[in-house]
């Protein structure tokens, strides 16, 4: 028994089944789809190998790069606007003594609603004629804004909706981290005369850095794969103003039947995701060291 466990081949035997399944359901589909990226497969006619033509087309496709840019806006908005707001609200809620769980539940509710429901709900709110937002702005004499039909406003409108949907979830995460901090540190600081803002900025935020780093990562991942809210609210329109990489790819592949080109786009999206992951590891990823109390 003991000697057989010393034999390295035994261990290999143990992982073979898993590796087999992994290869079957992960490597094989991935490799075949990479293969399809080099063909003009449209599902109906004969498939031909066309080399790098799809990728050449993708590099020259301004609509695709427009979608990539919109995705970047999503990421910047998540990291630059959403994350600070998340931390702000979490600290705010952690300071509340009464009804804390009420606030916790309230901010969490949007993230249990389905995206379709949220998209339609906000669609009504953005309605140019009867929507509550325009009615409210109308009180101050603001002219009717065609939120989802105006190329300038559609993306911000979708960004806000997306933020509203996901912020609550992260707030609850950060809140849990804040509440698990030892009380002594904060108490000591307040005895030393530190006010609420100083305690938040110099004590709470540094202590929850690891969880903030995780949230940044989750936000980037979420913004990279965002597509459902776009499809529900605007279908990428008007004129591609809200198209993101995934929605553009789905459109090309499914709607226009360009499966080969769509696959090539998906490979490019994969490459872009890899680059972003590397960037994250070099920046925020370093914040994830353990904090010792």
């Amino acid at each position: 028994m003991r000697s057989s466990l010393r034999n390295p081949y035994i261990y290999i035997l143990f992982v073979v089944p898993t590796l087999g399944l992994y290869a079957l359901f992960f490597f094989y589909p991935m490799l075949t789809s990479v293969g399809y990226g080099f063909t003009d497969w449209n599902g109906l006619e004969e498939t031909n190998f066309i080399g790098f033509a799809n990728f050449q087309q993708a590099f020259a496709d301004s609509d695709f790069w427009n979608a990539v840019r919109n995705n970047m806006v999503f990421i910047l908005f998540s990291v630059g606007v959403q994350v600070p707001l998340i931390v702000f609200f979490a600290i705010l809620i952690s300071q509340v003594r009464r009804f804390q769980s009420f606030y916790k539940t309230t901010v969490f509710v949007p993230s249990i609603l389905s995206t379709a429901v949220i998209g339609i709900l906000w669609g009504f709110m953005y309605d140019p004629e009867v929507g509550i937002i325009n009615q409210f702005l109308g009180l101050f004499g603001v002219e009717t804004i065609y939120w989802l039909a105006d190329s300038n406003w559609a993306l911000p409108a979708v960004l806000v909706t997306n933020a509203w949907q996901w912020m609550g979830f992260y707030i609850v995460l950060v809140l849990a981290a804040i509440l698990s901090l030892p009380k002594e540190i904060n108490e000591a600081a307040s005895i030393d005369g530190a006010g609420g803002f100083r305690r938040a900025w110099y004590i709470t935020v540094p202590l929850i850095k690891p969880i903030i780093s995780v949230i940044v990562m989750l936000s980037i991942a979420g913004a990279m794969r965002v597509v459902d809210i776009v499809l529900v609210m605007t279908k990428g329109g008007p004129v591609g103003a809200t198209d993101v990489m995934a929605s553009y790819m789905v459109n090309r592949a499914i709607r226009y039947g360009d499966y080969g080109y769509g696959t090539a786009l998906s490979i490019m999206i994969f490459a872009i995701a890899l680059i972003l992951t590397a960037l994250y590891q070099l920046t925020f990823g370093k914040m994830r060291e353990r904090v010792e109390f």
Partner: protein, 472 residues
């Protein structure tokens, strides 16, 4: 020795576990594959039986045939009723047959679901299908559609259709248009009377009418451009006016160019109307249904739409401020310097049903029964009387006089009148050009509306796409 025994045992256990897992998978796949095989194989047995002496079986083996339709929602309930009737009759005729109806929204079916199913090779047995290069002919070319020529011969329908052009490939029929349609302006008689507007007969009068409506804070033309095919209807007719009816067919064979001055003039006119504020504000965010609502709510004076919309004006579930009594219809007026016949109207026989080429004997019987009961005179008459769908088949005198006697809908009467006055009919280019070109037109029209492309840029981009597609 003992340790090898143990090793062997462990190996056996782990392998069995894995295989059991795989087995589960295989069983799952296998059973689904089997269902497919059963449909084919099993039914053959049944047929073998039924072709024998026991042809008259009391309770035949039940089987289902999938049927995809797009008649969902209030605006299409009359069409659904006609379909339901045909389905019921076909079910009664073929023992054991049950149709499995699957209602999917028009655009989702045409542009997302059906293409994906066609690519995967598992379309429904019967499905709503559009004619033309981008749809029926493409699928027919790939061998996905059933050749209907023998069935039409058998049922005596071979020469009954008015126009099968968009469903015919190499002389074979691959789909059957359920009705015909034309596109033009619907107008609100109440609003026209209120502001003393005459029904426009020239382009100037039309633009004058739009100006009058606009100055009275009424949307001149309801328009929902979120889905690009809606504004493309008007663009198509403008091209037909400025560049001539022949140009629509000319894009495909190269005798007409998208960036020719005439076609660009059509886009320029469209753009001029956008800039003048003749369409619904924020039209790029407005859906096709919302466009109808705006018109029915009396908030817009005109609406460029297909003749099929006439049934909505008579639908008590939909009408608000106006009913079909208050709706008038006129064709696009002649344009100055327009080429070709300026009285021509758009005429389409492009929507209907197609059938999967992957059918067994039993399903083929079901398809035949379905065609027999849906494509006949009384259904065509009902289509027109109940649903404002123009006939796609040559009607017998009896059927024609029935229409004559019973057609009461004032809007449909006007549409029929307009068609009869028209010199000729031209198609919508969506059934003529290749799907790559069509998808480019969808993008370009929205760019034009959003002000991101000039009419000339739109024409150039489309011509480039056309030349690329023609070269393939």
């Amino acid at each position: 020795m003992k340790k090898y025994g143990l090793l062997l045992l462990v190996l056996m256990v782990s392998l069995t576990t894995v295989l059991a897992g795989c087995g589960g998978n295989n069983a799952g796949q296998g059973s689904s594959a089997n269902t497919g095989a059963n449909e084919a194989g099993g039914s053959n047995e049944v047929n073998a039986g039924s072709s024998g002496e026991e042809a008259v079986v009391e309770d035949a083996e039940p089987f289902t045939v999938s049927l995809r339709h797009i008649q969902i929602g209030d605006a299409k309930k009359y069409r659904k009723a006609i379909l339901d009737d045909a389905v019921a009759k076909a079910e009664a005729e073929v023992p054991g047959l049950t149709f499995e109806l699957d209602g999917v929204e028009d655009e989702v079916n045409r542009f997302t679901k059906l293409p994906a199913e066609m690519a995967a090779g598992n379309p429904p047995k019967i499905f709503d299908l559009f004619g033309g290069e981008g749809d029926a002919l493409k699928y027919a070319n790939a061998g996905r559609l059933l050749d209907l020529t023998p069935i039409l011969e058998e049922l005596g329908l071979a020469d009954k259709f008015l126009n099968m052009g968009q469903f015919t490939l190499d002389g074979k029929a691959y789909g059957l248009p359920i009705g015909g349609s034309t596109e033009g302006f619907f107008y609100n008689k109440q609003l026209f009377a209120q502001y003393n507007i005459e029904v426009p007969t020239t382009l100037e009068e039309l633009e004058q009418a739009a100006e009058t409506l606009k100055s009275n804070e009424v949307t001149p033309m309801a328009m929902g451009s979120q889905a690009a095919w809606v504004p493309l209807m008007l663009a198509n007719t403008l091209i037909g006016r400025y560049a001539g009816p022949e140009s629509i067919y000319g894009f495909r064979d190269g005798s007409a160019a998208w960036n020719s001055p005439e076609v660009v003039a059509a886009f320029a006119k469209y753009k001029e109307w956008v800039d003048n504020g003749y369409f619904t504000k924020g039209e790029l965010g407005v859906t096709y249904d919302a466009m109808l609502n705006e018109f029915l709510g009396g908030k817009a004076g005109m609406m460029f739409d297909g003749s099929w919309r006439a049934s909505a004006f008579a639908n008590p579930d939909l009408v608000k401020e106006i009913t079909s009594e208050d709706v008038g219809y006129f064709a696009m007026p002649a344009v100055p310097d327009g080429k070709g016949d300026q009285t021509a109207v758009n005429g389409n026989y492009s929507n209907g049903y197609g059938f999967s080429s992957n059918l067994n004997e039993q399903e083929l019987e079901a398809v035949k029964a379905f065609i027999k009961h849906l494509y006949k005179d009384d259904m065509q008459v009902r289509g027109l009387l109940e649903d404002a769908l123009l006939p796609s088949m040559k009607l017998t005198d009896a059927a024609a006089s029935e229409i004559e006697a019973n057609l009461e809908d004032p809007v449909v009467k006007q549409i029929m009148g307009t068609m009869n006055e028209a010199g000729e009919a031209f198609s919508h280019f969506d059934s003529v050009v290749q799907s790559d070109v069509y998808s480019e037109t969808e993008q370009q029209i929205q760019r034009l509306i959003a002000g991101e492309s000039s009419p000339q840029e739109v024409g150039d981009a489309l011509q480039q796409a056309q030349e690329a597609a023609n070269a393939n």
